[in-house]
Structures are given as structure tokens and as C-alpha cells.
């Protein structure tokens, strides 16, 4: 037997770009993160050919999870066709040989920045969210060592104080995105900068959500069927964005999260933020056979 027969043939890079030990480390950290929902697990964030802050955390998780039969969807701010989303999707397909899709229903792995798709995710789907600032306590406690102690003690008084201050100053909770949420009744997490509209989608969801911050080197997770409760005062109800009555000017869908597009005359029109959902709605309207999945929000309301 020759040495040549025992070794694998030379390849320019390992499968899925990251080397085996890096992927093993991320896998272990993901398992830990799933075991303690909402708790931030430190990991060795590796180099990927992308600048920190552009989704390197999410990309590393995606590269670790992919296999050649997994269909990958990448969303950037709701859109599948933005430069960032297209580049990441193409990169994953190139280094892992995975098929890609834009349809939420077809996807096995969804990497997303700032949005959760409007169609309900299933048990067999994994959502990977890119997180810029994983530490919800950062605005109230700049010292990260003390912040970790506060997490350990479940000492979230200052988190609540922040909401109190916002109501006192502005008459309402001003937190727009990354609304602090209590996971499984224990850890407060920042659900990445998803809008308030998307936070209720995480509550008791069927799918697994993994949140990863590449620059800050933290992974945390929301396992399937886990409570995710936004922090709210008992007499100040949680409010999602006022998008329930807006109609998309291109697809005509109504009751979903919208992007506002300012017009020359000072008015603005709205366009559904989940671009794949908008495209499917247009194709359905034009008479094509398109499967539209069940949506989280029905008539602009989240069924409780």
C-alpha cells in the first residue's frame, strides 16, 4: 500500500471552505448554544473572504451546516437579490456545491440579515441570522465582564430601566430593531437587528434559529418550540410596526412588513420587504402555478 492510496487527493481547499477543525469547533459551540437557549457561546471566529461586519458570523455557521444536498437561501434585509445576499449565496454554492433557491418553501438552510421570511418555517429548516452586536446589555453596561456576570445572575433590571426611560422620554418604547427578548424564561438576547415585526415569529417556532456574530465571536440559538418573549411592561403592550394596512405597490399584497420608497412628489409608496414573497405573489397574479406557503401574519395580524 502506498502513501498515495491512504491520503485523499489534493484539493485547493477543504469542503465548505473552512477546515475540518474549525467546523468541528463551530458545531460544538452550536450544540452548546442550543443546549442553553439564548446564552452567548464564545467561539473562534475564523477568516472568511469577506470583511467583518458583512455577515461573517452567519457565513461560518452556514458553511459548517451545509452539505451537497442542502438548498441554500440567503436574504439581505428581506431581499434575495441584493449584492451582499447574491455574493454570499454564490460563495456557498461555489465552495460547497449546494443548490440555491430564492423560494422560502424550497430552502433547507436560510441565512438572513435583518429579516425572517414571511412564510412559516418548518421543522426541517434552519435559519441562520447575522448579528452585529450580540450583547443586549451593551447599551446599559459597557463593561463586558460585568455584563456576563449580570447574565449569570439573570440581573436584567437595567434592561427594563432602558425601556422605562424610553417611555418616560418619548411616551413609547423607541427600540426599533434588536428588541431585547427573554428566551426560555432565562436569558435575555438581542434577536439580531430584525424589526419588531419579526420577533413574535421566533416564539415557539418550529424551526431552529442560530444567531452568530463574527466580529464579536459569539453564537447563540433559539431551539425549536422555545419561548421568546419581548421585554414589555404589563400595562404597555408590545407593538409591531404599523404595516398591517399597507399595500405593496408592485405585488398588491397587504399586511406584511414593507419597505418605504420615497417618491419625487414627496409621497411614498410601499414594497413588500420579503422580495421572494413579493415575486411569488406577482407570478401567482400573472397566472403561474406558484405555491404560496402559510404566512406567520394573517391579514396583518399575528395569531396568538
Amino acid at each position: 500500500m502506498t502513501l498515495h492510496a491512504l491520503t485523499k487527493p489534493w484539493e485547493p481547499m477543504s469542503y465548505g471552505f473552512l477546515d475540518a477543525s474549525a467546523k468541528r469547533e463551530i458545531r460544538r459551540k452550536m450544540i452548546k448554544a442550543i443546549a442553553v437557549p439564548g446564552c452567548q457561546m464564545p467561539y473562534a471566529s475564523h477568516e472568511v473572504p469577506m470583511a467583518r461586519g458583512w455577515g461573517t458570523g452567519g457565513l461560518q455557521v452556514s458553511l459548517t451546516l451545509v452539505n451537497p444536498s442542502m438548498r441554500v437561501k440567503v436574504i439581505d434585509q428581506g431581499a434575495d437579490d441584493s449584492v451582499n445576499a447574491a455574493s454570499i449565496r454564490r460563495f456557498i454554492a461555489r465552495v460547497a456545491g449546494t443548490p440555491t433557491t430564492m423560494d422560502t418553501l424550497d430552502a433547507d438552510l436560510i441565512q438572513s440579515r435583518h429579516r425572517i421570511p414571511e412564510e412559516v418555517l418548518r421543522e426541517d429548516q434552519v435559519l441562520v441570522l447575522q448579528v452585529p452586536n450580540p450583547e443586549p446589555l451593551r447599551p446599559v453596561q459597557p463593561n463586558m465582564s460585568i455584563a456576563r456576570q449580570m447574565h449569570a445572575d439573570a440581573d436584567y433590571g437595567r434592561m427594563w430601566l432602558q425601556l422605562y426611560e424610553q417611555i418616560v422620554r418619548s411616551g413609547r418604547v423607541m427600540q426599533g430593531a434588536s428588541y431585547p427578548s427573554l428566551v426560555h424564561g432565562r436569558h435575555v438576547m438581542t434577536p439580531s437587528p430584525i424589526p419588531r415585526w419579526d420577533v413574535p415569529k421566533l416564539h415557539m417556532a418550529k424551526h431552529l434559529t442560530i444567531l452568530s456574530a463574527g466580529r464579536e465571536k459569539r453564537i447563540f440559538a433559539v431551539p425549536p418550540f422555545t419561548r421568546v418573549e419581548p421585554l414589555v411592561f404589563s400595562d404597555v403592550p408590545y407593538k409591531v410596526e404599523d404595516h398591517a394596512d399597507l399595500t405593496c405597490h408592485r405585488s398588491g399584497t397587504r399586511g406584511f412588513f414593507m419597505n418605504e420608497i420615497p417618491q419625487d412628489d414627496g409621497t411614498s409608496v410601499f414594497e413588500v420587504s420579503d422580495s421572494a414573497w413579493g415575486v411569488k405573489a406577482i407570478r401567482r397574479r400573472d397566472g403561474e402555478e406558484v405555491a404560496l406557503g402559510e404566512t406567520w401574519y394573517k391579514n396583518g395580524k399575528m395569531p396568538s
Binding site: 433590571g157 430601566l161 422605562y164 422620554r169
Partner: protein, 265 residues
């Protein structure tokens, strides 16, 4: 008709606070040597002594911020048992938040300077688990009102307030949960005399209205004399003299106490 006489209060009540034989050294420095202190419910215990005499260390221990090398600390409260120095950090934090209030000499230690004043008070209630905004607002306002804080500055951050006002915010925060024990660490040091008198007035009134047990630490005999029922004199980490306030001020026994009283008069 039979006449019944009540036994004197001091005999029927148990001490609320008992610190026994506490010693603490930092390296070769003995901060406290075999110090014991007792305070009865509704009483004001004054601790007086020069800088470095260990009085602030003792107060920090009463607030469970520090653990001594030896000694025990008990509070006679319904669901508080055993030596408090043996509690884990979670139990300590809950006990401090709900049962003990503290006012520091330096408001930066006790307050979040850039949050609103009412928010500073509300934080205490939030830590204790209050989750209704209306209740928080009402309770915070009530506590600030009780400490005679001007209510038109309710949402001003402490950094914009005067020293006397900052102390009032600290006091409101300390009494918001109606603690059994109120610790005051040089509460009026650094304030000018007229403001000092007003803050002392407030403290005196609160003490009379609510019968809170207080421990007040000061190097200023005037402050101690105004408030305290009983006085402990400390020097070099030891208690040199203890007794009723009148006794200490009228008839000081220890040389250091005599010096102190004479220096004041």
C-alpha cells in the same frame, strides 16, 4: 380594674441587626478587629470615627458588599435566616435590593448619572420584579416625594442636579422598597451647611414617620448627635466606646472620645 404595665420596649424586642466579632485585614492592614454592633428595630445607630477607622468597611459589610475574614451578621426578619455572610451571591443581591437601602457619600456610587432620577428609583423596583409601568411611575414618584425631591425635576438625570438633590435621589432609591434597614455612609459630607441641615431634616422626619432602623456613619459629631439614638466610636479598626448618644456626648470615657467631643465643642 387591674392596671397592666407594658414592659419597656428594649426588653421585649429583639435586635434587628446583629454583627458579631467581625475581623477583616487587607494584607498587613487590620481594617476591623473583633467588632460587634447591634441595632434595635426603629433605632438609629451612629458610627463615628476618624478616616481609616474602619467605619465605612463595617458599613459595606452590612450592605453585603464585602465579606469579613471572621464574624457573623444576622438580620431578624421573617424569611431571613442564619449568617448573611454565608449567602450565595444571588441571595445576597436579592436581600440587598429588597431589605437594605444604602446612601453613599459619593452619589456616583449609588446612582446611574445619565438615567432619569425617577428611573434610578424605578430600577430598585424593577430588580425586585415590578413589571407595571404605571405602578413603577407612581411608586418612584412617591419615594421621591417622601425624600422631599422637587417633583418638577422628576425626569432630570442626576448629573444635572445639585449635590443635595443627588443625595435625595439616593435616599428615594434606598427607601423605595421600604427596607427594614437603611445604611447611610457620610450622607451629608460635602454639602454646604444649610443643605446639610435640610437633608438631615428629611432623614429625621423619615425616621420618625416610618420607624426605619438606620445605621449612620459619619466623622461629623453634629450629624450623629442630630440623628443617632446610640453611638459607637471607632478608632484603628476597633470599637473604643459604645453607648447611648447622650451618655457618649455628656460623659465620654475613652480618651479618644473625649478628644473628639471637645474638638467639636
Amino acid at each position: 380594674m387591674t392596671l397592666t404595665l407594658d414592659a419597656p420596649r428594649i426588653v421585649t424586642t429583639h435586635p434587628l441587626l446583629q454583627v458579631h466579632h467581625v475581623s477583616k485585614s487587607y494584607g498587613s492592614v487590620n481594617a476591623l478587629r473583633d467588632v460587634s454592633a447591634i441595632a434595635y428595630p426603629g433605632e438609629v445607630l451612629g458610627i463615628v470615627g476618624e478616616s481609616g477607622s474602619g467605619k465605612s468597611t463595617l458599613l459595606r459589610m452590612m450592605n453585603l458588599e464585602e465579606t469579613p475574614d471572621t464574624g457573623s451578621y444576622t438580620l431578624d426578619l421573617p424569611d431571613v435566616e442564619g449568617n448573611l455572610f454565608d449567602l450565595d451571591r444571588f441571595a445576597r443581591r436579592m436581600l440587598c435590593a429588597t431589605r437594605i437601602g444604602i446612601v453613599y457619600q459619593n452619589p456616583h456610587l449609588g446612582l446611574l448619572m445619565k438615567h432619569s432620577s425617577s428611573g434610578n428609583v424605578a430600577e430598585r423596583l424593577l430588580v425586585a420584579g415590578e413589571r407595571s409601568f404605571a405602578t413603577l411611575r407612581a411608586k418612584a414618584t412617591a419615594a421621591l416625594e417622601a425624600s422631599e425631591f422637587p417633583l418638577d425635576r422628576l425626569d432630570a438625570p442626576p448629573i444635572e442636579l445639585s449635590g443635595g438633590m443627588q443625595q435625595r435621589v439616593q435616599l428615594a432609591k434606598a427607601i423605595a422598597l421600604e427596607p427594614a434597614l437603611l445604611l447611610l455612609d457620610e450622607p451629608t459630607t460635602g454639602l454646604d451647611v444649610s443643605v446639610q441641615a435640610l437633608v438631615l431634616d428629611t432623614l429625621k422626619r423619615l425616621q420618625q414617620e416610618r420607624r426605619i432602623t438606620m445605621v449612620i456613619v459619619s466623622h461629623d459629631l453634629g450629624v450623629i448627635k442630630t440623628l443617632a439614638d446610640r453611638v459607637m466610636v471607632m478608632k484603628g479598626g476597633e470599637v473604643v466606646e459604645a453607648g447611648l448618644a447622650d451618655q457618649i456626648f455628656q460623659d465620654p470615657q475613652h480618651a479618644y472620645t473625649q478628644q473628639l467631643v471637645h474638638a467639636k465643642l
